[in-house]
C-alpha cells in the first residue's frame, strides 16, 4: 500500500455519539444537496460526508466538537446568526448554506484576526505544504491583514525544545486547543491546559512548565492534532515533509498499532498512527510514534559475520559463506551428537511468515521439534490455561470490546506503561463511568490517575494470585450471585459440580485467604460482588498473572471467574491477556512450540503431522522437542550443542542469567539473527544481520488476534529480509523451501491452518486487518470468541488448588522482588536504548518502600545490592510508596542492570514460564557494582573490541583490493 503522501481525510467531528445513532437517520439539505446522516451528526460532518468541505481549524474528527475558531460558520434557515457547523447537530429538514458572500466575508475577517497574531514565514516554516492554517487561509481567500503587525502579538514567544522528539513553538499557536483536547480526550493524561484568558490565553504544559517537566508522556497526540507548526516533529523540522507513505504495523508491544510511515525516499521522516487502524484508531505512544531512530542507528550490523570461537574477532563474510558455515556446523553437530542436539528459537518480534519458516526449517530440516519462542517466558500459561478451559489459546475479545465494559478487573498488568494505546482507550471508558478493580502488588498509575480512580486496589502479595482468584470465586459461589443459567447452558456441569465442591470450602474464603494475600476480606468481598453484579465485567491481565509458578492455574482461575459470572461470549466482557510483544500471539499461532504444530495442534497426533508431511514432503518427528529452559539444561548437560536464535535476546531476558550464560558458553554453534549485536550475540559463532520491521513484508498478530500487514518501507540494510535469511540457511541445510514473497508463505499458512484458511494478502489489503479465526465460517474474521458455544464445546471449570511458591520470603531473603516494564523503554531495550527515549529512563532502578529502606539505613539514590539465591546485582534505589512494604520492584531494560541475574529458575508447573514476578531477595547498601556486573562489563568490552576488529578486517580487505 505504497501511496503518495496526503493527509488523512478529516470529517471535522467524530461519529455521532447519540444513543440511537446506529439506527436513526436525519434528512437535511446542505447547499441544495439532500443528504441523510445518523442522528446526532454535526452539520460539519454531514457536509463532509456529502462531499461539501466547510473550512475549519479547531475541529478534527478525532476530537469532540469545540467551536472555538469560528471559521466554520454557516447559515441555517430559521436560526439566528451564523451557527458553527462543528457544534451544531443536524435536525430533520434543516436547510444549511455553507457558502455565501456574507459567510465568506465573516470567515475572511475571522481568519484575518487569527493571522494578525501569526508569523508570515510560511516559506521557511517546517509545516509548509502540510499546514491546515495555511490551507484554510487559502480557502477563505485571505489577502491582507488590515490590522498590521505592530499590535500585540506572541511572535517573540520562546520555543520549548525540552522534548527530544518535538518542538513547541508558541509563536505559531492559534489557541485552538486541539493539543489540549487531544491530551485529555485521546491520551487521557491531562498534561496540557490553556493558561490565562483573553489575548493572553496560551497553551501550557503542566503548571506552566516545560513539556519535559510536565506530566506529558510524549505520546504525540498533541503534535498530530496541531493544525499549525506550533507542535512539530523534530524529524520534520530537520528533513522536510514526506513525499510518499506506507501503511504498516508497529513493531513494539502487543497492541499492534497501524502506522503510516511517512517517507522521503528511503528515510522515515515521521510515523503517523493510521486513523483506520482498528487496534489504535489513530493513536500511538512515545515508542511507536517517535522511537524509530534505532532502525538507522550506527550500531546496526549489516554484514554476516562468523568466528570459530567467541574469543576470536568477528570475520565479515558473504551471506553464502555464512550460510554454508552455519549449515556445516549444524550438520556436523548432528552427526556427532544426534539429530536432537540442535534446535531453534523463533522470534515474537518477527513476522508470522518468518516464524513459520523458522519452525518449518527446524521440523523439516533439523528433523526434530526443538523449536520454542519467547512466549515461553511470558504468556505460555495463557495459551495453556485458556485452551484447557475455553478451548482456544487466545484472548476472547477485540480491544473495541472495552468500550462496552461496565467493570474492568485489571490484574497484574500496567497498560498505561506497557500497552499505552490500549491504556488510553481503557482510561476513556473509565472516564465514561466504567468501574475499575486493580489487582496488583504495586500502586500502578491507573489506581489514581487524572479523572480515573479505581473502585478497589487489591494490593496482594506477590505469588498469591491463585489464593486471590479462588477467594473471588468463593464469594460469588457462597453468596449465590453466580450466573447459574449461563453455567447450565454453556459449561460442563459435571466439572462444575466438582469445582463447586472444591471452591465452596471455607479455606478459599477471603477471611481465610486474607493472611495469604494480604487483601482485607471485606474489600475482596465487595470487589467480588461488584464483579458479579456490574453488567459487563471484563478481565484484563498481563505478565503479573502468567510469570509465576502457578501462572497457568491463575489463568484457569480467571477463566473460571468469567464463566461463573457469565462474562464471556459477547462484547464488553471476556478474558483479555495483554500480550507483550508485537507478534507474540502470532509466534504462538505459527507453531513455535516443541509440542504443537501451527494452530496449536499436538505434534504427537499422527493425523496432525500428516497434514504437514504431505504438504512439505518430509516426515516429521512425533516426539515433542525441548523447551527453552530444557535447551539450556541440555546444553550444560552436553547433549544440546547448536542453537539458531532469531530475534530474541535470551542472555538478557531469560531468568537466572548466569545459568543462561553457562548454557550459551556450552554451545558449539550459536547462530544469532538480530539487528544488533545483542547480549546473546556476544556468545555467538555466526551472526546473521536482521531486518527491522520497516525493511520487510509480512504480518503481525496482536493481542486481540488481529493480523495486520507489515509493509516494506525501505530496503533491508543488510540486503536480506529475515525471511530470506532463514530461507538461505534452510537451503544450505538442504531443505526444500522456496518462496518469492511472504505472501506465498501466507498462502501456505492459510492452506495448512484451519483458523487461517481465509487469510491472504489480498484479503488483508481489502479489509485492512483481520482477527483470526478467518475461514469459511467467519469470512470477515472473528472479533469475539465463544459467542454461542465455547471452542471446546462446553466451558470447563478447572480445579485451581493454591500451592504457594517455593520462592518465599525468609530470614535470609526477607523481601520479594517483582519486575516489570516502563513506558519509555521496551523489554530488553535493544531498540529503545538506541533512541532518545533514554531521556526518560537512562537506568533501571530498584523501587523500595521507605520503611524497608529505613530499616536498612538506605537513602534515596543509594547504590544497593540485591541478592537472591540465584545471584546478586547492584542498582540505584528509588524510594516510593508505590510498592508495599516487603516488596521491591525493578525493570530489566538495561543489560548491565542484571535483573535476571537475581531471578531464579523457578517456573510455571505446566509451561515452564519463569517466575519473574517473585524472587526472595535481601537488599543492602553497597558502594560498587556486583561481581557479575564487573565481569559482564569486561566481557562486553572484549566483545566490543572483537566487533571493532571486524571493521579493521573490512578495512584491510578493501586495502588489499
Amino acid at each position: 500500500m505504497l501511496q503518495y503522501f496526503q493527509p488523512d481525510k478529516d470529517l471535522g467531528t467524530p461519529t455521532s455519539s447519540a444513543a440511537d445513532a446506529q439506527n436513526k437517520t436525519v434528512g437535511l439539505t446542505i447547499d441544495g444537496v439532500l443528504t441523510h446522516v445518523a442522528v446526532g451528526t454535526s452539520v460539519m460532518r454531514a457536509a463532509a460526508q456529502a462531499g461539501i468541505k466547510i473550512p475549519k481549524l479547531c475541529a478534527t474528527d478525532s476530537l469532540a466538537a469545540f467551536g472555538s475558531c469560528r471559521i466554520c460558520l454557516v447559515e441555517i434557515e430559521g436560526q439566528k446568526g451564523y451557527p458553527a457547523a462543528c457544534t451544531t447537530p443536524v435536525q430533520a429538514n434543516m436547510v444549511v448554506t455553507t457558502q455565501s458572500d456574507r459567510i465568506a466575508s465573516l470567515r475572511r475577517n475571522i481568519m484575518e484576526l487569527t493571522i494578525s497574531d501569526h508569523p508570515l514565514d510560511c516559506l521557511t516554516c517546517a509545516t509548509n505544504g502540510n499546514c491546515e492554517l495555511q490551507d484554510t487561509a487559502g480557502e477563505v481567500g485571505l489577502r491582507e491583514v488590515r490590522y498590521g503587525f505592530d499590535g500585540a502579538n506572541h511572535l517573540q514567544a520562546a520555543k520549548d525544545q525540552s522534548n527530544p522528539y518535538f518542538t513547541f513553538d508558541p509563536a505559531k499557536c492559534i489557541v485552538c486547543s486541539r493539543c489540549v483536547r487531544a491530551c485529555d480526550e485521546i491520551q487521557g493524561t491531562f498534561a496540557l491546559s490553556i493558561e490565562s484568558r483573553g489575548f493572553e490565553a496560551k497553551v501550557s504544559a503542566g503548571q506552566n512548565q516545560s513539556f519535559a517537566d510536565s506530566d506529558c508522556v510524549s505520546c504525540g497526540a498533541c503534535v498530530a492534532a496541531c493544525p499549525t507548526a506550533t507542535l512539530t516533529e523534530n524529524t520534520i523540522i530537520k528533513s522536510g515533509q514526506a513525499e510518499h507513505s506506507v501503511i504498516t504495523t508497529c513493531a513494539y508491544c502487543g497492541v499492534g498499532c497501524a502506522f503510516k510511515a511517512e517517507m522521503r525516499g528511503n528515510t522515515v521522516v515521521k510515523m503517523t498512527p493510521w486513523k483506520d487502524g482498528k487496534a489504535n484508531q489513530g493513536h500511538a505512544c512515545v515508542k511507536g510514534r517517535f522511537a524509530f531512530g534505532y532502525v538507522t542507528h550506527q550500531d546496526r550490523i549489516t554484514t554476516p559475520m562468523i568466528r570459530d570461537n567467541i574469543d576470536q574477532p568477528w570475520q565479515p563474510v558473504s551471506w553464502e559463506q555464512a550460510f554454508s558455515f552455519a549449515a556445516q556446523r549444524l550438520r556436523d553437530i548432528q552427526a556427532r551428537h544426534g539429530k536432537n542436539s540442535i534446535g531453534g528459537i523463533s522470534s515474537s518480534r518477527c513476522t508470522n511468515e518468518e516464524v513459520w519458516l523458522v519452525q518449518k526449517m527446524i521440523r523439516a530440516g533439523f528433523g526434530n521439534n526443538n523449536i520454542d519462542t519467547c512466549a515461553r517466558v511470558c504468556h505460555s500459561p495463557t495459551g495453556y490455561g485458556l485452551k484447557a478451559t475455553l478451548g482456544e489459546s487466545a484472548g476472547t475479545q477485540a480491544f473495541a470490546s472495552v468500550d462496552h465494559t461496565d467493570l474492568i478487573m485489571l490484574m497484574g498488568a500496567n497498560p498505561t506503561d506497557a500497552h499505552p494505546v490500549f491504556g488510553s482507550r481503557l482510561k476513556k471508558r473509565l472516564r465514561e463511568g466504567a468501574k475499575l478493580i486493580v489487582v496488583d502488588p504495586r500502586k500502578i498509575a491507573l489506581v489514581d490517575a487524572p479523572h480515573v480512580k479505581a473502585a478497589f486496589h487489591l494490593q496482594l502479595r506477590p505469588g498469591t494470585n491463585v489464593a486471590f482468584i479462588n477467594a473471588m470465586a468463593h464469594v460469588i459461589v457462597s453468596e449465590n450471585i453466580a450466573n447459574e443459567s449461563f453455567i447450565q447452558d454453556r459449561c460442563d456441569t459435571t466439572a462444575y459440580q466438582q469445582w463447586h465442591e472444591f471452591i465452596i470450602d471455607s479455606k478459599h474464603s477471603p477471611e481465610t485467604t486474607e493472611d495469604i494475600t494480604g487483601i482485607p476480606a471485606q474489600q475482596l468481598r465487595a470487589a467480588a460482588r461488584l464483579f458479579a453484579s456490574s453488567g459487563n465485567s471484563a478481565i484484563y491481565y498481563g505478565l503479573g498473572v502468567t510469570e509465576h509458578s502457578q501462572g497457568s492455574t491463575t489463568v484457569m482461575g480467571i477463566a473460571n471467574l468469567a464463566m461463573l459470572t457469565g462474562n464471556i461470549g459477547r462484547e464488553g466482557v471476556g478474558v483479555n491477556p495483554l500480550r507483550g510483544q508485537n507478534n507474540v500471539q502470532g509466534s504462538c499461532d505459527m507453531g513455535s512450540f516443541p509440542h504443537e504444530l501451527p494452530g496449536y495442534r499436538s505434534v504427537t497426533d499422527a493425523s496432525n503431522r500428516a497434514i504437514f508431511e504431505q504438504d512439505w514432503g518430509v516426515s516429521l518427528d512425533p516426539e515433542p522437542g525441548l523447551r527453552i529452559p530444557n535447551m539450556f539444561d541440555a546444553a550444560i548437560d552436553g547433549s544440546f550443542k547448536g542453537l539458531y536464535c532469531q530475534g530474541e535476546d535470551i542472555a538478557q531476558s531469560d531468568p537466572n542469567t548466569q545459568h543462561v550464560e553457562a548454557a550459551l558458553l556450552s554451545l558449539e554453534c550459536l547462530i544469532v539473527q538480530d539487528i544488533f549485536l545483542n547480549e546473546t550475540a556476544k556468545y555467538a559463532h555466526i551472526f546473521l544481520p536482521g531486518s527491522s520491521f520497516l525493511e520487510k513484508d509480512g504480518t503481525f498478530t496482536n493481542a486481540e488476534r488481529r493480523v495486520s500487514r507489515v509493509r516494506q518501507a525501505m530496503p533491508p540494510k543488510a540486503g536480506l529480509a529475515d525471511w530470506q535469511t532463514t530461507l538461505g540457511l534452510a537451503k544450505a541445510l538442504g531443505v526444500d523451501m522456496h518462496y518469492d514473497h511472504p505472501s506465498e508463505i501466507m498462502a501456505e499458512i492459510a492452506r495448512l491452518t484451519p483458523t487461517f484458511a481465509g487469510f491472504s494478502y489480498a484479503r488483508l489489503d481489502e479489509l485492512g486487518s483481520i482477527q483470526w479465526p478467518c475461514n469459511e465460517a467467519a469470512p470477515m474474521g472473528t472479533a469475539t470468541l465463544h459467542i454461542d458455544t465455547f471452542v471446546r464445546g462446553k466451558g470447563l471449570f478447572a480445579v485451581t488448588e493454591f500451592t504457594p511458591t517455593t520462592e518465599r520470603a525468609n530470614r535470609k531473603y526477607p523481601l520479594l522482588l517483582t519486575t516489570g516494564r516502563i513506558l519509555s523503554q521496551y523489554n530488553v531495550g535493544s531498540q529503545t536504548r538506541r533512541t532518545k527515549n533514554n531521556q526518560w529512563h537512562e537506568e533501571d532502578r530498584l523501587e523500595m518502600h521507605p520503611s524497608d529502606a529505613e530499616q536498612r539505613g538506605i537513602n534515596h539514590g543509594d547504590w544497593v545490592g540485591i541478592s537472591s539465591r540465584a545471584g546478586n546485582t547492584v542498582l540505584h534505589v528509588k524510594l516510593t510508596h508505590n510498592v508495599q512494604p516487603g516488596v521491591v520492584y525493578t525493570t530489566f531494560h538495561h543489560p548491565l542492570s542484571g535483573a535476571n541475574v537475581v531471578t531464579t529458575d523457578n517456573s510455571d508447573w505446566a509451561t515452564n514460564c519463569p517466575e519473574y514476578k517473585v524472587t526472595a531477595v535481601e537488599i543492602s547498601k553497597v558502594l560498587s557494582p556486583s561481581k557479575w556486573q564487573q565481569r559482564q562489563q569486561s566481557f562486553n568490552n572484549k566483545q566490543q573490541s572483537l566487533l571493532d576488529q571486524k571493521d579493521k578486517t573490512i578495512a584491510s580487505n578493501s586495502h588489499e583490493q
Binding site: A65, F66, G67, S68, C69, R70, I71, L73, G81, Y82, A84, C86, T87, T88, P89, L106, N109, I110, L113, T114, S116, D117, R146, Y147, G151, A152, I174, V175, S177, S193, I194, S196, R197, G198, F199, E200, A201
Partner: protein, 508 residues
C-alpha cells in the same frame, strides 16, 4: 426596649455603618438606654446610607445619611424618636419617602425591613409561603405555574424560565442540579448582592422550589468571591435553614431532600456566563462551552441542570406564595413582573429601584436619580452592564422593557444603569468596552480573544488620527465579526457599547 436598625449591607458599611452601629451601642451603654440593635440589610437607597431606623408606634423613622460624627448630636433624637422631628438628617417615616413609596417592591419587599438572619422575621413577613404552596403541587403543575407567570431570566438574557424548567424536568437522569448564578459581575449592578445580604432566605426558598419542580436534590450557589458579606450572610442563612429543616432531608416535613452549597468564583467576569460558570463549578478553567447541548439537558457534570440568576430564583418564591396571576399584574409587553433597576455611576441618588417593567428611563434618571452627583448635565447612560448600549439624551424616553430595548439596539440586561456627565469621552468609552472584553474574554473563540485587543488598537489609531476613515470602517467590520462570529454573548455584545458610543461621537 428600643429597636434600632443599622444596615450591615456592603454599601452601608463602606459608608461607615459599622462605626455608626458601634457608636450607637456605646452611647446606649453610657446613657443606660436599653436598645435592640438590628443589623438589617439595605433598603437600596444608597444616597441615604448609613440609614439608621428606629421603630415607633407610627412606623419606622429614618435618619440618614448618618456618619459617626453625627452621633453625639443625633443620639437623643435616635433614642427618643419623634415622627415630627425636623432635624436635618431625620427622614420621617421611611415608608413615606417618595423614592421608596413610588417603587413596586416584590423581590425587595423585605429588604432593609427584616433581620436577614432571622428565620422568624422571614416567616413573619410571608416567607416560605411559596414553598408550602409548592409542596402541595406536582412537579408538572409547578412548572406550569412558572410558565404561566411569564417569568423570564433576570440575569440578562430574559429566557422564559418555565421553558427551561420544563426541559430539565423532562430530561431523565438520576441526578439533576439547581445552580444559582450569583456571579454578579456587570459594572453598576448590585441587586443580587443586595438581595442576598438583605433577604437570603428568599433565594434559598426559590431554589428549594425549583429543586422540587425539576427533581433536583443538589443545589449550588456560584457566588463571586468579591461578595464576602453576601457569602457570610448566605452561609449563615443556609446553616439556619438546615437546622430548621428547610434544607437537607425531609424539607418542611416532606419526603423531599435538597442540599445546598455555596461555591466561590475566582474573579472572572466570564464565569457569569452560564456555561463558563458550570465549567468553573466543575473545578475547571472558566471557559465557555458551545451550545448545544443546553445546560438544561447536559449541564453540571453532564447532568440536566437548572441554572438561573439570583433574582429569577428569588422571584419564584413570590410567584408560588401569591400566584402567577398576581405576578402577571406587573409589567408590559412580554416583560412580565418587576425590574430591579440599579442606578449607579455619576448620579445624585444612586441605589436600587424596583418597578414593574415599562417605566420611563428619563423618569428614573430625573425623579429617582436626581441628576448627576457632580451637578453637570447627564450626557449618556449605559444600560445593561458593560456590554449594554450607551443612550444619549434623545433616547431616554424609552420604556424599560426587554422588547423596547431590543428594538432600540440596546439591552436591559440585568438592569444596571451607569450615568455619565458631559465630561465623558465617548471614544474612550468605546475603547473601554474593547478593553473590558480583552480583559475578561475567556480566550476560547477567535473573534473575542483577538478581536477585542485589535479593537483597542484600532480605536487608538482613530484617536491618534491615523487613517481615521479606513480605521472606522475596519472597526465596524470588527464589530460585525465579533457580533456574529463570537461563541458567546461576551464577544457578541461587546460591539453594542462600542457602536453606540461611536454613534454618539459621530453625531457630535
Amino acid at each position: 426596649m428600643l429597636d434600632i436598625f443599622v444596615p450591615a449591607d456592603t454599601t452601608a458599611c463602606a459608608l461607615g455603618a459599622d462605626a455608626v452601629a458601634a457608636a450607637v451601642i456605646t452611647e446606649a451603654n453610657i446613657r443606660k438606654v436599653e436598645i435592640n440593635l438590628i443589623r438589617n440589610g439595605s433598603r437600596g437607597l444608597f444616597w441615604l446610607e448609613p440609614l439608621v431606623e428606629i421603630t415607633t408606634e407610627q412606623g419606622r423613622i429614618g435618619f440618614g445619611p448618618v456618619t459617626v460624627e453625627h452621633i453625639p448630636q443625633l443620639i437623643n433624637h435616635i433614642f427618643e424618636p419623634d415622627i415630627t422631628d425636623n432635624t436635618a438628617l431625620c427622614l420621617g417615616l421611611i415608608d413615606q419617602i417618595p423614592s421608596l413609596k413610588n417603587q413596586q417592591r416584590v423581590n425587595f419587599a423585605r429588604a432593609g425591613i427584616i433581620d436577614p438572619l432571622s428565620l422568624k422575621d422571614y416567616l413573619a413577613h410571608g416567607g416560605y409561603l411559596g414553598l408550602q404552596q409548592a409542596l402541595t403541587m406536582t412537579a408538572e403543575s409547578m412548572v406550569d405555574q412558572v410558565i404561566a407567570s411569564g417569568l423570564r431570566g433576570r440575569g440578562g438574557a430574559a429566557f422564559p424560565t418555565g421553558i427551561k424548567w420544563r426541559t430539565v424536568l423532562e430530561t431523565p437522569a438520576e441526578q439533576k442540579y439547581i445552580v444559582c448564578n450569583a456571579d454578579e459581575g456587570d459594572s453598576g449592578t448590585f441587586a443580587d448582592r443586595l438581595l442576598m445580604e438583605a433577604d437570603p432566605f428568599q433565594l434559598i426558598e426559590g431554589m428549594t422550589i425549583a429543586a422540587l419542580a425539576v427533581g433536583a436534590s443538589q443545589g449550588y450557589i456560584y457566588l463571586r468571591a468579591e461578595y464576602p458579606k453576601a457569602h457570610r450572610v448566605l452561609q449563615q442563612a443556609i446553616d439556619l435553614a438546615y437546622s430548621n429543616s428547610y434544607l437537607g432531608k425531609n424539607i418542611a416535613a416532606s419526603e423531599h431532600q435538597f442540599d445546598l452549597q455555596i461555591r466561590l468564583g475566582a474573579g472572572a467576569y466570564i464565569c457569569g456566563e452560564e456555561t463558563a460558570l458550570l465549567e468553573s463549578l466543575e473545578g475547571k478553567r472558566g471557559q465557555v462551552r458551545a451550545k448545544p447541548p443546553l445546560p438544561a439537558i447536559s449541564g453540571l457534570f453532564g447532568k440536566p441542570t437548572m441554572i438561573n440568576n439570583v433574582l429569577t430564583l428569588a422571584t419564584v418564591a413570590s410567584i408560588f406564595a401569591r400566584g402567577a396571576d398576581w405576578y402577571k399584574t406587573f409589567g408590559c409587553n412580554r416583560s412580565v413582573g418587576t425590574l430591579a433597576i440599579q442606578l449607579a455611576g455619576n448620579i445624585a441618588q444612586g441605589g436600587l429601584i424596583e418597578l414593574a417593567f415599562g417605566a420611563n428611563l428619563r423618569d428614573i434618571l430625573v425623579d429617582f436619580g436626581g441628576g448627576t452627583a457632580t451637578g453637570k448635565p447627564i450626557h449618556a447612560v449605559q444600560v445593561g452592564g458593560p456590554l449594554g448600549a450607551y443612550l444619549a439624551a434623545s433616547e431616554w424616553d424609552i420604556k424599560l422593557d426587554y422588547e423596547t430595548f431590543n428594538d432600540a439596539n440596546a439591552m436591559l440586561g440585568h438592569g444596571g444603569i451607569v450615568v455619565f456627565d458631559d465630561s465623558v469621552d465617548m471614544l474612550q468609552q468605546a475603547r473601554f468596552a474593547m478593553e473590558f472584553c480583552a480583559l475578561e474574554s475567556c480566550g476560547k473563540c477567535t473573534p473575542c480573544r483577538i478581536g477585542s485587543t485589535r479593537g483597542i488598537e484600532v480605536i487608538d489609531k482613530i484617536q491618534q488620527g491615523e487613517q481615521p476613515k479606513q480605521n472606522l470602517i475596519l472597526l465596524e467590520e470588527l464589530c460585525d465579526t465579533m457580533q456574529y462570529g463570537s461563541l458567546c454573548a461576551m464577544g457578541g455584545l461587546t460591539p453594542m457599547p462600542v457602536r453606540s458610543a461611536i454613534k454618539h461621537l459621530k453625531k457630535r
